[in-house]
Protein backbone atom coordinates (compact mmCIF):
# COMPACT_ATOMS: atom_id res chain seq x y z
CA UNK A 1 0.00 0.00 0.00
CA UNK A 2 2.77 2.36 0.96
CA UNK A 3 4.84 1.47 -2.10
CA UNK A 4 1.91 2.02 -4.37
CA UNK A 5 1.24 5.41 -2.86
CA UNK A 6 4.86 6.54 -3.30
CA UNK A 7 4.69 5.55 -6.94
CA UNK A 8 1.48 7.39 -7.56
CA UNK A 9 2.72 10.49 -5.77
CA UNK A 10 4.98 11.21 -8.72
CA UNK A 11 1.94 11.83 -10.89
CA UNK A 12 -0.36 13.87 -8.70
CA UNK A 13 0.06 16.02 -5.60
CA UNK A 14 -2.49 14.02 -3.66
CA UNK A 15 -0.88 10.74 -4.62
CA UNK A 16 -3.66 10.05 -7.09
CA UNK A 17 -5.09 7.65 -4.56
CA UNK A 18 -8.85 7.53 -4.16
CA UNK A 19 -9.50 6.33 -0.70
CA UNK A 20 -13.00 5.24 0.23
CA UNK A 21 -12.32 6.65 3.66
CA UNK A 22 -11.59 10.18 2.45
CA UNK A 23 -13.35 12.92 4.38
CA UNK A 24 -14.46 14.51 1.10
CA UNK A 25 -14.32 13.26 -2.46
CA UNK A 26 -15.64 15.50 -5.22
CA UNK A 27 -15.18 13.89 -8.59
CA UNK A 28 -15.78 15.47 -12.01
CA UNK A 29 -18.53 17.66 -10.59
CA UNK A 30 -20.37 19.90 -13.06
CA UNK A 31 -23.18 22.19 -12.03
CA UNK A 32 -25.63 24.24 -14.09
CA UNK A 33 -28.85 26.16 -13.49
CA UNK A 34 -31.68 26.48 -16.02
CA UNK A 35 -32.40 24.08 -18.81
CA UNK A 36 -31.74 23.67 -22.53
CA UNK A 37 -30.58 26.77 -24.41
CA UNK A 38 -30.74 29.00 -21.35
CA UNK A 39 -28.70 26.78 -19.06
CA UNK A 40 -26.01 28.70 -17.19
CA UNK A 41 -22.98 26.57 -16.28
CA UNK A 42 -21.52 27.25 -12.83
CA UNK A 43 -18.92 24.55 -12.29
CA UNK A 44 -17.19 22.28 -14.78
CA UNK A 45 -15.33 19.08 -14.08
CA UNK A 46 -14.30 19.93 -10.52
CA UNK A 47 -12.33 17.27 -8.68
CA UNK A 48 -11.36 17.88 -5.05
CA UNK A 49 -10.19 15.41 -2.42
CA UNK A 50 -9.74 15.97 1.30
CA UNK A 51 -8.09 13.14 3.22
CA UNK A 52 -8.72 12.46 6.91
CA UNK A 53 -6.98 15.03 9.07
CA UNK A 54 -5.74 16.86 6.00
CA UNK A 55 -6.03 20.61 5.37
CA UNK A 56 -6.81 21.44 1.78
CA UNK A 57 -7.08 24.96 0.38
CA UNK A 58 -9.51 26.08 -2.30
CA UNK A 59 -8.27 29.41 -3.63
CA UNK A 60 -9.77 31.77 -6.18
CA UNK A 61 -11.22 35.19 -6.86
CA UNK A 62 -14.90 36.15 -6.87
CA UNK A 63 -17.02 34.04 -9.21
CA UNK A 64 -14.47 31.25 -9.42
CA UNK A 65 -16.91 28.79 -7.83
CA UNK A 66 -14.91 28.04 -4.68
CA UNK A 67 -17.77 28.61 -2.24
CA UNK A 68 -20.18 26.76 -4.52
CA UNK A 69 -17.86 23.73 -4.54
CA UNK A 70 -17.64 23.74 -0.75
CA UNK A 71 -21.40 24.00 -0.37
CA UNK A 72 -22.08 21.00 -2.62
CA UNK A 73 -20.33 18.87 -0.01
CA UNK A 74 -23.33 19.48 2.26
CA UNK A 75 -25.80 19.09 -0.59
CA UNK A 76 -26.52 22.83 -0.60
CA UNK A 77 -27.03 23.35 -4.33
CA UNK A 78 -28.48 26.52 -5.85
CA UNK A 79 -32.23 26.30 -6.53
CA UNK A 80 -32.96 24.36 -9.71
CA UNK A 81 -29.34 23.33 -10.20
CA UNK A 82 -28.48 20.12 -11.99
CA UNK A 83 -25.31 18.35 -10.98
CA UNK A 84 -23.32 15.61 -12.67
CA UNK A 85 -20.35 13.79 -11.27
CA UNK A 86 -20.12 12.61 -7.69
CA UNK A 87 -19.73 14.08 -4.22
CA UNK A 88 -19.02 11.78 -1.30
CA UNK A 89 -18.55 12.71 2.34
CA UNK A 90 -17.27 9.73 4.31
CA UNK A 91 -19.19 7.08 2.33
CA UNK A 92 -22.35 9.15 1.86
CA UNK A 93 -23.22 9.91 -1.75
CA UNK A 94 -24.38 13.50 -1.30
CA UNK A 95 -25.89 14.16 -4.73
CA UNK A 96 -28.34 11.25 -4.53
CA UNK A 97 -28.97 11.47 -0.79
CA UNK A 98 -32.48 12.13 0.51
CA UNK A 99 -33.38 14.89 2.94
CA UNK A 100 -33.07 12.70 5.99
CA UNK A 101 -29.63 11.43 5.04
CA UNK A 102 -28.46 14.97 4.29
CA UNK A 103 -29.79 16.26 7.60
CA UNK A 104 -28.02 13.47 9.36
CA UNK A 105 -24.80 14.21 7.47
CA UNK A 106 -24.89 17.91 8.35
CA UNK A 107 -25.73 17.12 11.94
CA UNK A 108 -22.96 14.65 12.62
CA UNK A 109 -20.33 14.21 9.95
CA UNK A 110 -19.71 17.52 8.22
CA UNK A 111 -19.80 21.06 9.59
CA UNK A 112 -19.41 24.40 7.91
CA UNK A 113 -18.12 27.76 9.12
CA UNK A 114 -18.90 30.93 7.20
CA UNK A 115 -17.29 34.34 6.88
CA UNK A 116 -19.83 36.17 9.01
CA UNK A 117 -20.57 34.35 12.29
CA UNK A 118 -23.57 36.59 12.94
CA UNK A 119 -25.31 35.25 9.85
CA UNK A 120 -25.10 31.64 11.00
CA UNK A 121 -26.10 32.02 14.64
CA UNK A 122 -29.58 32.77 15.94
CA UNK A 123 -29.38 36.27 17.49
CA UNK A 124 -32.21 35.75 19.99
CA UNK A 125 -30.95 32.50 21.49
CA UNK A 126 -28.22 32.11 24.06
CA UNK A 127 -24.74 30.78 23.19
CA UNK A 128 -25.39 27.74 25.37
CA UNK A 129 -28.49 26.82 23.36
CA UNK A 130 -26.52 27.15 20.14
CA UNK A 131 -23.83 24.79 21.35
CA UNK A 132 -26.09 22.14 22.88
CA UNK A 133 -28.56 22.06 19.98
CA UNK A 134 -26.50 19.72 17.82
CA UNK A 135 -25.58 17.50 20.74
CA UNK A 136 -29.16 17.20 21.97
CA UNK A 137 -30.28 16.28 18.46
CA UNK A 138 -27.82 13.41 18.56
CA UNK A 139 -29.41 12.12 21.74
CA UNK A 140 -26.89 13.43 24.27
CA UNK A 141 -28.67 14.01 27.63
CA UNK A 142 -29.24 17.68 28.52
CA UNK A 143 -26.88 17.69 31.48
CA UNK A 144 -24.04 16.04 29.56
CA UNK A 145 -24.60 18.42 26.61
CA UNK A 146 -24.38 21.44 28.93
CA UNK A 147 -21.12 20.19 30.37
CA UNK A 148 -19.78 19.53 26.91
CA UNK A 149 -20.68 23.11 25.88
CA UNK A 150 -18.65 24.52 28.77
CA UNK A 151 -15.77 22.26 27.82
CA UNK A 152 -15.92 23.37 24.17
CA UNK A 153 -15.95 27.07 25.06
CA UNK A 154 -12.94 26.52 27.26
CA UNK A 155 -11.15 24.75 24.42
CA UNK A 156 -11.67 27.66 22.01
CA UNK A 157 -10.30 30.11 24.56
CA UNK A 158 -13.46 31.84 25.77
CA UNK A 159 -12.88 33.15 29.27
CA UNK A 160 -15.44 32.26 31.92
CA UNK A 161 -17.47 29.72 29.89
CA UNK A 162 -20.01 29.51 32.71
CA UNK A 163 -21.27 33.02 32.06
CA UNK A 164 -20.62 32.86 28.31
CA UNK A 165 -23.27 30.16 27.79
CA UNK A 166 -25.90 32.50 29.23
CA UNK A 167 -24.95 35.40 26.99
CA UNK A 168 -26.34 36.35 23.56
CA UNK A 169 -24.41 36.58 20.28
CA UNK A 170 -24.47 40.41 20.23
CA UNK A 171 -22.45 40.46 23.45
CA UNK A 172 -19.46 38.95 21.65
CA UNK A 173 -17.00 40.60 19.26
CA UNK A 174 -16.64 39.17 15.75
CA UNK A 175 -13.51 37.22 16.63
CA UNK A 176 -14.99 35.80 19.83
CA UNK A 177 -18.23 34.83 18.10
CA UNK A 178 -16.28 33.08 15.34
CA UNK A 179 -14.64 31.04 18.13
CA UNK A 180 -18.09 30.10 19.41
CA UNK A 181 -19.12 29.04 15.91
CA UNK A 182 -15.95 26.93 15.61
CA UNK A 183 -16.77 25.31 18.94
CA UNK A 184 -20.26 24.56 17.62
CA UNK A 185 -18.94 23.19 14.35
CA UNK A 186 -16.60 20.82 16.15
CA UNK A 187 -19.00 19.84 18.93
CA UNK A 188 -20.18 16.78 16.99
CA UNK A 189 -16.60 15.74 16.14
CA UNK A 190 -17.22 15.80 12.38
CA UNK A 191 -14.99 14.08 9.86
CA UNK A 192 -15.13 17.08 7.56
CA UNK A 193 -14.97 20.78 8.32
CA UNK A 194 -15.79 23.22 5.54
CA UNK A 195 -14.39 26.66 6.30
CA UNK A 196 -15.57 29.34 3.87
CA UNK A 197 -13.40 32.46 4.37
CA UNK A 198 -13.72 32.03 8.15
CA UNK A 199 -11.26 34.81 8.98
CA UNK A 200 -11.77 37.29 6.14
CA UNK A 201 -13.90 39.65 8.22
CA UNK A 202 -11.51 39.58 11.17
CA UNK A 203 -8.56 41.81 12.04
CA UNK A 204 -5.20 40.38 11.09
CA UNK A 205 -4.12 39.70 14.69
CA UNK A 206 -7.47 38.07 15.45
CA UNK A 207 -7.16 36.05 12.27
CA UNK A 208 -3.87 34.60 13.47
CA UNK A 209 -5.49 33.53 16.75
CA UNK A 210 -8.54 31.97 15.12
CA UNK A 211 -6.36 30.10 12.62
CA UNK A 212 -4.13 28.79 15.39
CA UNK A 213 -7.24 27.59 17.20
CA UNK A 214 -8.74 26.02 14.08
CA UNK A 215 -5.54 24.13 13.27
CA UNK A 216 -5.20 22.97 16.84
CA UNK A 217 -8.79 21.75 17.10
CA UNK A 218 -8.49 20.05 13.75
CA UNK A 219 -5.38 18.17 14.84
CA UNK A 220 -6.93 17.10 18.11
CA UNK A 221 -10.06 15.75 16.43
CA UNK A 222 -8.42 14.46 13.25
CA UNK A 223 -10.88 16.42 11.13
CA UNK A 224 -10.34 16.90 7.42
CA UNK A 225 -10.64 20.59 6.51
CA UNK A 226 -11.50 22.26 3.22
CA UNK A 227 -10.37 25.87 3.62
CA UNK A 228 -11.93 28.24 1.11
CA UNK A 229 -10.15 31.58 0.74
CA UNK A 230 -9.12 34.32 -1.67
CA UNK A 231 -5.86 34.75 0.25
CA UNK A 232 -3.03 32.74 -1.31
CA UNK A 233 -0.63 33.57 1.51
CA UNK A 234 -3.06 32.33 4.14
CA UNK A 235 -3.78 29.14 2.20
CA UNK A 236 -0.08 28.45 1.74
CA UNK A 237 0.57 29.04 5.44
CA UNK A 238 -1.90 26.48 6.74
CA UNK A 239 -2.77 23.98 3.99
CA UNK A 240 -1.12 20.73 2.95
CA UNK A 241 -2.41 20.95 -0.59
CA UNK A 242 -4.03 23.76 -2.57
CA UNK A 243 -6.48 23.80 -5.45
CA UNK A 244 -6.57 27.02 -7.48
CA UNK A 245 -9.93 27.74 -9.11
CA UNK A 246 -10.68 30.04 -12.02
CA UNK A 247 -14.04 30.49 -13.77
CA UNK A 248 -15.68 27.38 -12.31
CA UNK A 249 -12.75 25.05 -12.95
CA UNK A 250 -9.76 23.76 -11.05
CA UNK A 251 -6.76 25.10 -12.94
CA UNK A 252 -4.00 23.87 -10.66
CA UNK A 253 -3.50 21.48 -7.78
CA UNK A 254 -0.24 21.59 -5.88
CA UNK A 255 1.38 20.86 -2.54
CA UNK A 256 1.30 24.29 -0.89
CA UNK A 257 5.03 24.54 -0.26
CA UNK A 258 5.66 24.34 -4.02
CA UNK A 259 2.91 26.69 -5.14
CA UNK A 260 4.90 29.82 -4.28
CA UNK A 261 8.25 28.75 -5.65
CA UNK A 262 7.04 26.83 -8.69
CA UNK A 263 3.54 27.79 -9.84
CA UNK A 264 2.58 25.79 -12.92
CA UNK A 265 -0.47 27.68 -14.19
CA UNK A 266 -0.13 31.20 -15.66
CA UNK A 267 -3.08 32.30 -13.49
CA UNK A 268 -1.40 31.12 -10.30
CA UNK A 269 1.77 32.94 -11.22
CA UNK A 270 -0.17 36.07 -12.19
CA UNK A 271 -1.98 36.00 -8.81
CA UNK A 272 1.33 35.73 -6.97
CA UNK A 273 2.82 38.58 -8.98
CA UNK A 274 -0.25 40.76 -8.38
CA UNK A 275 -0.15 40.38 -4.57
CA UNK A 276 1.99 42.86 -2.68
CA UNK A 277 3.99 41.27 0.11
CA UNK A 278 5.54 42.45 3.37
CA UNK A 279 8.24 39.80 3.17
CA UNK A 280 11.58 40.00 1.38
CA UNK A 281 12.66 42.87 -0.82
CA UNK A 282 10.11 45.28 -2.16
CA UNK A 283 9.20 44.21 -5.68
CA UNK A 284 6.84 45.85 -8.16
CA UNK A 285 3.45 44.21 -8.48
CA UNK A 286 2.10 43.23 -11.87
CA UNK A 287 -1.58 43.73 -12.52
CA UNK A 288 -3.55 41.13 -14.48
CA UNK A 289 -5.48 42.76 -17.31
CA UNK A 290 -9.25 42.30 -17.48
CA UNK A 291 -11.37 41.02 -14.62
CA UNK A 292 -12.10 37.61 -13.10
CA UNK A 293 -14.84 35.78 -14.95
CA UNK A 294 -17.57 33.32 -14.13
CA UNK A 295 -17.77 30.09 -16.10
CA UNK A 296 -20.78 31.27 -18.13
CA UNK A 297 -18.95 34.29 -19.54
CA UNK A 298 -15.52 32.74 -20.03
CA UNK A 299 -14.07 32.20 -23.51
CA UNK A 300 -13.99 28.83 -25.27
CA UNK A 301 -11.02 26.57 -24.68
CA UNK A 302 -8.92 27.70 -21.70
CA UNK A 303 -11.00 30.13 -19.59
CA UNK A 304 -7.97 32.22 -18.71
CA UNK A 305 -6.71 32.69 -22.27
CA UNK A 306 -8.15 36.21 -22.74
CA UNK A 307 -6.10 37.43 -19.76
CA UNK A 308 -3.10 35.16 -20.20
CA UNK A 309 0.22 36.57 -21.45
CA UNK A 310 1.25 33.13 -22.74
CA UNK A 311 -1.94 32.29 -24.64
CA UNK A 312 -1.58 31.04 -28.19
CA UNK A 313 -4.01 29.84 -30.86
CA UNK A 314 -3.89 26.29 -29.51
CA UNK A 315 -5.39 27.48 -26.19
CA UNK A 316 -8.72 28.25 -27.90
CA UNK A 317 -9.19 24.76 -29.30
CA UNK A 318 -10.34 22.90 -26.22
CA UNK A 319 -10.30 23.04 -22.44
CA UNK A 320 -6.80 21.84 -21.45
CA UNK A 321 -6.76 18.52 -19.60
CA UNK A 322 -5.00 18.27 -16.24
CA UNK A 323 -1.42 17.10 -16.61
CA UNK A 324 1.39 16.65 -14.12
CA UNK A 325 4.12 19.29 -14.10
CA UNK A 326 6.68 19.44 -11.31
CA UNK A 327 4.70 18.80 -8.13
CA UNK A 328 1.51 20.20 -9.64
CA UNK A 329 -1.41 18.91 -11.61
CA UNK A 330 -2.16 21.71 -14.04
CA UNK A 331 -4.73 22.52 -16.72
CA UNK A 332 -2.44 24.39 -19.09
CA UNK A 333 -0.83 23.55 -22.43
CA UNK A 334 2.37 25.43 -21.65
CA UNK A 335 3.27 24.97 -17.97
CA UNK A 336 6.97 24.79 -18.88
CA UNK A 337 6.73 28.48 -19.89
CA UNK A 338 5.44 29.35 -16.41
CA UNK A 339 8.01 27.41 -14.41
CA UNK A 340 10.54 25.32 -16.35
Amino acid sequence: MLAKKTLARKEAPDGGAEDRRDALGVSRLSLAVGAGERAIPLLADVTVRVGRGETVGLVGESGSGKSLTARTALGMLPRGARATGSVTVSDVDVLSAGRKTLRDLRRTRASMIFQDPRASINPVRRIGDYLTEGLRARGVPARAAAERALDLLDQVGIRDPGSAVRRFPHEFSGGMLQRVVIAGALSTEPELLLADEPTTALDVTTQAEVIALLKNMQQVHGTGMLFVTHDLDLAAAICDRIYVMYAGRIVEESVSAALFTAPAHPYTRALLEASPSVHGDKVAIKAIKGRPRALAESPSGCSFRDRCPLAGDDCAASVPAHRPHGTSLVACLHPEQVTP
Binding site: E61, S62, G157, R159, D203, V204, T205, T206, Q207, A208, E209, I211, A212, K215, H230, D231, L232, D233, L234, A236, A237, I238, S256, A257, F260, A270, L271, A274, S275, P276, S277, V278, H279, K282, I285, K286, A287, I288, K289, R291, P292
Partner: protein
Protein backbone atom coordinates in the same frame (compact mmCIF):
# COMPACT_ATOMS: atom_id res chain seq x y z
CA UNK B 1 8.02 73.51 -2.00
CA UNK B 2 9.17 72.74 1.52
CA UNK B 3 5.89 73.53 3.24
CA UNK B 4 3.70 70.53 4.00
CA UNK B 5 0.46 70.40 2.04
CA UNK B 6 -1.32 68.91 5.04
CA UNK B 7 -0.38 68.99 8.68
CA UNK B 8 -2.27 67.72 11.66
CA UNK B 9 -1.47 68.82 15.20
CA UNK B 10 -2.60 67.18 18.44
CA UNK B 11 -5.84 65.90 16.97
CA UNK B 12 -8.33 64.57 19.53
CA UNK B 13 -11.80 63.20 18.84
CA UNK B 14 -14.12 62.09 21.61
CA UNK B 15 -17.48 60.40 21.20
CA UNK B 16 -19.03 60.87 24.63
CA UNK B 17 -16.57 59.33 27.07
CA UNK B 18 -14.83 57.32 24.38
CA UNK B 19 -11.66 58.78 22.89
CA UNK B 20 -11.43 57.59 19.30
CA UNK B 21 -8.44 59.69 18.30
CA UNK B 22 -5.92 60.67 20.94
CA UNK B 23 -3.22 63.27 20.25
CA UNK B 24 -2.46 62.47 16.62
CA UNK B 25 0.01 64.65 14.70
CA UNK B 26 1.62 64.19 11.31
CA UNK B 27 2.69 66.09 8.20
CA UNK B 28 2.28 65.33 4.53
CA UNK B 29 4.60 66.89 1.94
CA UNK B 30 3.44 67.67 -1.59
CA UNK B 31 3.66 64.57 -3.78
CA UNK B 32 4.26 62.31 -0.77
CA UNK B 33 2.24 59.31 0.32
CA UNK B 34 1.51 58.59 3.97
CA UNK B 35 0.03 55.35 5.26
CA UNK B 36 -2.20 55.15 8.33
CA UNK B 37 -2.13 51.54 9.52
CA UNK B 38 -4.27 49.98 12.21
CA UNK B 39 -6.95 47.45 13.04
CA UNK B 40 -10.61 48.10 13.70
CA UNK B 41 -11.04 50.55 16.56
CA UNK B 42 -7.60 52.08 16.07
CA UNK B 43 -9.05 55.45 15.07
CA UNK B 44 -7.64 55.41 11.56
CA UNK B 45 -10.95 55.97 9.80
CA UNK B 46 -12.04 58.68 12.27
CA UNK B 47 -8.75 60.46 11.57
CA UNK B 48 -9.40 60.22 7.82
CA UNK B 49 -12.94 61.54 8.25
CA UNK B 50 -11.67 64.54 10.22
CA UNK B 51 -9.19 65.29 7.43
CA UNK B 52 -12.06 65.31 4.93
CA UNK B 53 -14.24 67.49 7.17
CA UNK B 54 -16.79 64.73 7.74
CA UNK B 55 -16.17 64.87 11.49
CA UNK B 56 -15.23 67.84 13.66
CA UNK B 57 -12.24 67.29 15.95
CA UNK B 58 -12.78 67.78 19.68
CA UNK B 59 -9.46 69.62 19.76
CA UNK B 60 -6.37 70.01 17.61
CA UNK B 61 -5.90 71.57 14.20
CA UNK B 62 -5.81 70.47 10.59
CA UNK B 63 -3.77 72.76 8.36
CA UNK B 64 -4.41 72.32 4.66
CA UNK B 65 -2.45 74.13 1.99
CA UNK B 66 -1.05 76.59 4.53
CA UNK B 67 -4.37 77.50 6.15
CA UNK B 68 -5.98 76.12 9.29
CA UNK B 69 -9.35 74.53 8.63
CA UNK B 70 -11.83 76.10 11.04
CA UNK B 71 -15.51 75.39 11.54
CA UNK B 72 -17.70 73.75 8.99
CA UNK B 73 -19.46 76.59 7.25
CA UNK B 74 -20.43 76.01 3.62
CA UNK B 75 -17.53 78.19 2.50
CA UNK B 76 -14.98 76.27 4.54
CA UNK B 77 -16.36 72.97 3.29
CA UNK B 78 -16.08 74.09 -0.33
CA UNK B 79 -12.58 75.42 0.19
CA UNK B 80 -11.55 72.18 1.89
CA UNK B 81 -13.17 69.91 -0.70
CA UNK B 82 -11.46 71.81 -3.49
CA UNK B 83 -8.09 70.76 -2.03
CA UNK B 84 -8.79 67.43 -0.43
CA UNK B 85 -10.94 64.57 -1.71
CA UNK B 86 -11.76 61.25 -0.15
CA UNK B 87 -12.19 57.76 -1.64
CA UNK B 88 -14.12 55.11 0.30
CA UNK B 89 -13.97 51.33 0.45
CA UNK B 90 -17.33 50.89 -1.27
CA UNK B 91 -17.78 53.50 -3.99
CA UNK B 92 -21.29 52.19 -4.69
CA UNK B 93 -22.58 54.13 -1.70
CA UNK B 94 -21.13 57.41 -2.99
CA UNK B 95 -22.58 57.37 -6.51
CA UNK B 96 -26.12 58.48 -7.33
CA UNK B 97 -27.67 55.26 -8.66
CA UNK B 98 -29.74 57.16 -11.25
CA UNK B 99 -26.91 59.22 -12.74
CA UNK B 100 -24.51 57.92 -15.34
CA UNK B 101 -20.87 57.65 -14.30
CA UNK B 102 -19.97 60.58 -16.59
CA UNK B 103 -22.65 62.78 -14.99
CA UNK B 104 -21.37 61.89 -11.52
CA UNK B 105 -17.80 62.70 -12.49
CA UNK B 106 -18.88 66.07 -13.94
CA UNK B 107 -20.86 67.10 -10.86
CA UNK B 108 -18.03 68.27 -8.55
CA UNK B 109 -16.50 70.09 -11.55
CA UNK B 110 -19.63 72.20 -11.93
CA UNK B 111 -19.24 73.20 -8.29
CA UNK B 112 -15.50 73.84 -8.21
CA UNK B 113 -14.07 74.33 -11.69
CA UNK B 114 -15.07 77.28 -13.88
CA UNK B 115 -15.86 76.42 -17.48
CA UNK B 116 -18.68 75.52 -19.85
CA UNK B 117 -20.55 72.23 -19.88
CA UNK B 118 -18.73 71.38 -23.08
CA UNK B 119 -15.32 71.90 -21.48
CA UNK B 120 -16.40 69.80 -18.55
CA UNK B 121 -17.54 66.99 -20.86
CA UNK B 122 -14.16 67.02 -22.60
CA UNK B 123 -12.43 66.88 -19.23
CA UNK B 124 -14.61 63.92 -18.16
CA UNK B 125 -13.47 62.10 -21.30
CA UNK B 126 -9.83 62.75 -20.39
CA UNK B 127 -10.39 61.57 -16.82
CA UNK B 128 -12.10 58.34 -17.88
CA UNK B 129 -9.16 57.69 -20.15
CA UNK B 130 -6.68 58.48 -17.38
CA UNK B 131 -8.18 55.89 -15.00
CA UNK B 132 -8.61 53.30 -17.75
CA UNK B 133 -12.38 53.38 -18.24
CA UNK B 134 -14.01 53.26 -21.67
CA UNK B 135 -16.44 55.98 -22.77
CA UNK B 136 -19.09 53.24 -22.73
CA UNK B 137 -18.44 52.76 -19.02
CA UNK B 138 -18.96 56.52 -18.68
CA UNK B 139 -22.47 56.18 -20.09
CA UNK B 140 -23.31 53.30 -17.70
CA UNK B 141 -25.11 53.49 -14.37
CA UNK B 142 -23.11 52.59 -11.26
CA UNK B 143 -24.92 49.25 -10.89
CA UNK B 144 -23.72 48.14 -14.34
CA UNK B 145 -20.05 48.43 -13.40
CA UNK B 146 -17.87 45.98 -11.50
CA UNK B 147 -16.32 46.93 -8.15
CA UNK B 148 -12.97 47.70 -9.73
CA UNK B 149 -14.55 49.89 -12.41
CA UNK B 150 -16.57 51.79 -9.78
CA UNK B 151 -13.40 52.43 -7.79
CA UNK B 152 -11.75 53.77 -10.96
CA UNK B 153 -14.76 56.06 -11.48
CA UNK B 154 -14.51 57.30 -7.88
CA UNK B 155 -10.85 58.11 -8.46
CA UNK B 156 -11.70 59.93 -11.70
CA UNK B 157 -14.35 61.99 -9.91
CA UNK B 158 -11.94 62.94 -7.14
CA UNK B 159 -9.21 63.90 -9.64
CA UNK B 160 -11.61 66.04 -11.69
CA UNK B 161 -11.14 69.12 -9.51
CA UNK B 162 -7.36 68.55 -9.23
CA UNK B 163 -7.13 68.37 -5.42
CA UNK B 164 -3.79 68.55 -3.62
CA UNK B 165 -4.52 65.59 -1.36
CA UNK B 166 -6.42 62.34 -1.82
CA UNK B 167 -7.52 60.49 1.33
CA UNK B 168 -8.12 56.82 0.54
CA UNK B 169 -9.94 54.85 3.24
CA UNK B 170 -9.45 51.10 2.64
CA UNK B 171 -9.86 51.93 -1.04
CA UNK B 172 -8.70 48.55 -2.35
CA UNK B 173 -9.77 46.31 0.55
CA UNK B 174 -12.92 44.97 -1.11
CA UNK B 175 -11.32 44.22 -4.49
CA UNK B 176 -10.09 40.91 -5.88
CA UNK B 177 -6.31 40.51 -5.92
CA UNK B 178 -5.98 40.98 -9.67
CA UNK B 179 -8.18 44.11 -9.62
CA UNK B 180 -6.49 45.45 -6.49
CA UNK B 181 -3.16 45.33 -8.34
CA UNK B 182 -4.68 47.32 -11.21
CA UNK B 183 -5.93 50.06 -8.88
CA UNK B 184 -2.65 50.19 -6.95
CA UNK B 185 -0.57 50.59 -10.11
CA UNK B 186 -3.03 53.23 -11.34
CA UNK B 187 -2.67 55.19 -8.08
CA UNK B 188 1.10 54.93 -8.32
CA UNK B 189 1.09 56.26 -11.89
CA UNK B 190 -1.28 59.11 -11.03
CA UNK B 191 0.93 60.27 -8.20
CA UNK B 192 3.96 60.24 -10.51
CA UNK B 193 2.08 62.16 -13.23
CA UNK B 194 0.18 64.75 -11.18
CA UNK B 195 2.22 65.23 -8.01
CA UNK B 196 -0.86 64.64 -5.85
CA UNK B 197 -0.37 63.54 -2.22
CA UNK B 198 -2.02 60.50 -0.65
CA UNK B 199 -3.16 59.64 2.83
CA UNK B 200 -3.68 55.91 2.51
CA UNK B 201 -5.68 54.35 5.33
CA UNK B 202 -5.47 50.58 5.47
CA UNK B 203 -5.24 47.51 7.68
CA UNK B 204 -3.12 45.78 5.03
CA UNK B 205 0.60 46.29 5.58
CA UNK B 206 1.52 44.75 2.22
CA UNK B 207 -0.64 47.25 0.35
CA UNK B 208 0.67 50.12 2.51
CA UNK B 209 4.22 49.05 1.72
CA UNK B 210 3.50 49.26 -1.98
CA UNK B 211 1.71 52.61 -2.06
CA UNK B 212 3.33 54.77 0.66
CA UNK B 213 6.73 56.28 1.56
CA UNK B 214 6.07 56.94 5.24
CA UNK B 215 3.56 55.46 7.63
CA UNK B 216 2.08 55.78 11.08
CA UNK B 217 0.81 52.80 13.05
CA UNK B 218 -2.24 53.49 15.22
CA UNK B 219 -3.65 51.57 18.15
CA UNK B 220 -6.49 52.58 20.47
CA UNK B 221 -6.50 56.05 18.91
CA UNK B 222 -2.82 56.74 19.47
CA UNK B 223 0.19 56.63 17.16
CA UNK B 224 2.49 53.86 18.42
CA UNK B 225 5.07 54.01 15.66
CA UNK B 226 5.99 56.29 12.78
CA UNK B 227 8.71 56.40 10.16
CA UNK B 228 9.60 55.35 6.66
CA UNK B 229 7.38 52.46 5.62
CA UNK B 230 10.29 50.19 4.61
CA UNK B 231 12.07 50.93 7.89
CA UNK B 232 8.98 50.10 9.96
CA UNK B 233 8.54 46.79 8.14
CA UNK B 234 12.21 45.84 8.37
CA UNK B 235 12.78 46.68 12.00
CA UNK B 236 9.54 47.37 13.85
CA UNK B 237 10.25 49.10 17.18
CA UNK B 238 6.91 48.87 18.93
CA UNK B 239 5.69 45.44 20.09
CA UNK B 240 2.29 46.11 18.52
CA UNK B 241 3.84 46.71 15.09
CA UNK B 242 5.74 43.44 15.56
CA UNK B 243 2.49 41.64 16.38
CA UNK B 244 0.85 43.09 13.27
CA UNK B 245 3.74 41.96 11.09
CA UNK B 246 4.00 38.47 12.56
CA UNK B 247 0.23 38.02 12.21
CA UNK B 248 0.45 38.25 8.42
CA UNK B 249 0.33 34.74 6.98
CA UNK B 250 3.34 33.51 5.06
CA UNK B 251 4.66 30.07 4.07
CA UNK B 252 6.87 29.98 7.20
CA UNK B 253 4.18 31.41 9.46
CA UNK B 254 4.98 30.92 13.12
CA UNK B 255 1.80 31.01 15.20
CA UNK B 256 3.81 30.50 18.38
CA UNK B 257 5.67 33.71 17.70
CA UNK B 258 2.34 35.52 17.26
CA UNK B 259 1.30 34.20 20.67
CA UNK B 260 4.61 35.43 22.11
CA UNK B 261 4.03 38.89 20.58
CA UNK B 262 0.60 38.97 22.20
CA UNK B 263 2.07 38.22 25.59
CA UNK B 264 4.57 41.06 25.08
CA UNK B 265 1.54 43.36 24.79
CA UNK B 266 -0.21 41.77 27.77
CA UNK B 267 -2.99 40.48 25.56
CA UNK B 268 -4.61 37.12 26.37
Amino acid sequence: MNAPVLSVTSLVKKFGHFTAVDDVSFELMPGASLGIVGESGSGKTTTARILAGLEQPTSGTVTLDGRAVEGHSRRTRLWQARRLQMIFQDPYGSFDPRQTIAQSIAEPMRLHVPGSAKEHRARVGELLDQVGLSSRAGESLPRDLSGGQRQRAAIARALGIAPRVLVLDEAVAALDVSIQAQILTLLDELRGDTGISYVFVSHDLAVVRYITDTAIVMRHGRIVERGETEQILRSPQHPYTRLLLDSIPSPDWDLDRVAQDRRALDLP
